[in-house]
Symmetry: C2
């Protein structure tokens, strides 16, 4: 792998969960890191995530849709890690236009500026396995049909297509990593609807019992964030020619049932109780059943593999939150709340107007 | 096929090329037809298209993104034919946000209102083979990877996913027809960038020679609009259970090279000259090479097949334009012009604002 020493890199969503872990690692590797993150309510960004590197990085406090206003940072970047977005499937079903704006419209604007200011720049985009929907077969490879079960999946896939289409035409040099469920330090704990791992972590770290929907037999393959960061770094610097569709699945080292995941967390959190409960109605239609990843295309092309077992990653994660909990849970208001303007009664709407 | 007599149907894009042919046929079948079409500049809508039925139909002069304002028409419709959109690949590359607004944002708003006001309503959506991009194999079936080569393909596919996703969850009962190149009466002639068939027709009907890009050997399978209308009618009324992805390719009866198509038109237009010329730079990246459709899934499920050979369809088409040319070409300004606000120097931008 080529050196990151002194390399100017741009990270969108750099105050978010994976983005901040990536920023910290890149600073350790000697890169000159600029992050773009306006910390949009509900999206999981948190300035505390960047505490270790706050004085080392440059922070552009703008939405990626305002890319024209930070064109020089885009022009100077040798690599772009594109992690800005909203990951919540639930939010997307409540507020589809918000999800469309954040995950598709903003990406369109950002990528147009990238193509103009830095044609052919290498971009690594954080995609999601959610675009596949309910699996036809497991483990799931990249040839699986695209059948998202929620607006988030539709909008993330539109952005995925922007990256691949603009790369096929030579405007960009993008690669898309379709991530499984990632967990680890700096994950938002207090925002509901960020996935079961976030909820389980909040309940574990606060000493509450865990509830598992359904029979708990659905499989997931959680990936520790350090391993996800490895995947981004290897995809970014590789000189290997990408496959034509430039899209790789990135999964975890083990297939575990939701019940096993809950039981492991409950045990490591201090022998907390685990109970099964019925699936809530609003989750049934967007549940995808079991999932496990076939990461062999990425592994074979890039030599990557996850290095952390779930127990190892979880131990590191719990230790992090024990020391930093006040940055992730408001002690005066420990209930989950996403702070979405729509939840505060403010309605938003996309309009197309002459400017 | 069940009777259309007195059936309330809604057609979005009903003043457009295929939409107007569908409206006229549905009036003939006794349906109560409401169309929605604000005749957006550049999209091919033309009030003259509806001349034969103008006093029989109800015309809602609104954008589908304003669906909340015609909720009662949506509520009362037993069938919805969803043909609103922009088909130009070239326009989409010039003005991606405009294409996103027309083909994706508007569809999102429209479908949300449909799901709310008329849950489970049967919708037939006009998709496009453009979502596939350059074929891996021919004839192309529905299992082919989705690899659009332009923004239009990305945005049409996002709308395709809205339809299938909302149907899988029971909110709608949609079917998507992925159309090949359709031609026939009521096609816009004067708007450039509406595809080669429109351009060839304009040149033929005005007695000019035809130019074919490249060597002219690329295959297409043009479909006469009456056959496309048949496909919409059969998909709309069928009680056959749709396949899970609810998407069917709809192609023409013959594979013809661009040169053959041009030569046939030139001969039927009065022995006009046909010349080959180099591919213009802005078309190279969005050209998909040869294309032919495997329509067997739709044919086998619905008993549909195209009834018109290219020569038959073309004869009908040329006869139509000979009698109605003044509605399709401005004699005072016979040059192609799409009337896009952006081409008139007016910039538009999507914004997400509190309302």
């Amino acid at each position: 792998m080529i050196s990151y020493q002194n390399l100017p890199v741009l990270i969108t969503g750099g105050a978010g969960f994976i983005g901040s872990n990536l920023a910290i690692r890149l600073v350790e590797l000697g890169a000159r890191v600029t992050i773009v993150d306006p910390v949009v309510a509900g999206c999981g960004g948190n300035p505390s995530n960047l505490a270790p590197v706050r004085n080392t990085i440059t922070w552009i406090d703008r939405d990626i849709s305002d890319a024209a206003r930070f064109a020089s940072a885009i022009r100077e970047a040798k690599l772009i890690f594109n992690l800005a977005g909203e990951i919540s499937h639930i939010h997307s079903m409540e507020f589809p236009e918000r999800d469309l704006l954040i995950n598709t419209v903003s990406q369109l604007r950002f990528l147009q500026v990238c193509a103009k200011e830095n044609p052919g720049v290498r971009i690594v985009y954080a995609g999601t396995r959610q675009v596949y929907g309910k699996p036809d077969y497991l483990p799931m490879d990249e040839a699986h049909p695209i059948r998202p079960v929620d607006f988030n999946g539709v909008h993330k896939y539109a952005a995925n297509m922007y990256h691949t289409m603009l790369s096929r035409s030579g405007h960009l040099d993008a690669v898309v990593l379709r991530l499984t469920n990632v967990y680890g330090p700096r994950m938002a704990l207090q925002i509901p609807c960020q996935g079961f791992l976030s909820t389980f972590l909040r309940l574990t770290i606060t000493g509450q019992g865990l509830q598992v929907f359904g029979d708990g037999k659905q499989l997931r393959d959680p990936l520790f964030v350090d391993d996800a960061v490895d995947a981004f770094l290897q995809a970014a610097k590789s000189k290997i020619r990408f496959r034509e569709d430039r899209t790789y699945n990135i999964g975890g080292p083990q297939s575990l049932s939701l019940l096993e995941i809950a039981q492991t967390m409950a045990r490591m959190g201090g022998n907390l109780p685990v109970t099964l409960r019925e699936f809530p109605a609003d989750r049934v239609s967007i549940d995808i059943g079991s999932y496990s990843t076939d990461s062999s295309a990425f592994r074979d092309s890039f030599g990557w593999r996850p290095r952390h077992s779930f127990e190892d990653g979880l131990a590191t994660t719990l230790a992090y939150y024990r020391s930093n909990l006040h940055h992730y849970l408001d002690p005066n208001n420990p209930q989950p709340h996403c702070g979405l303007p729509e939840h505060l009664g403010i309605q938003h709407r996309l309009t197309y107007t002459a400017v």
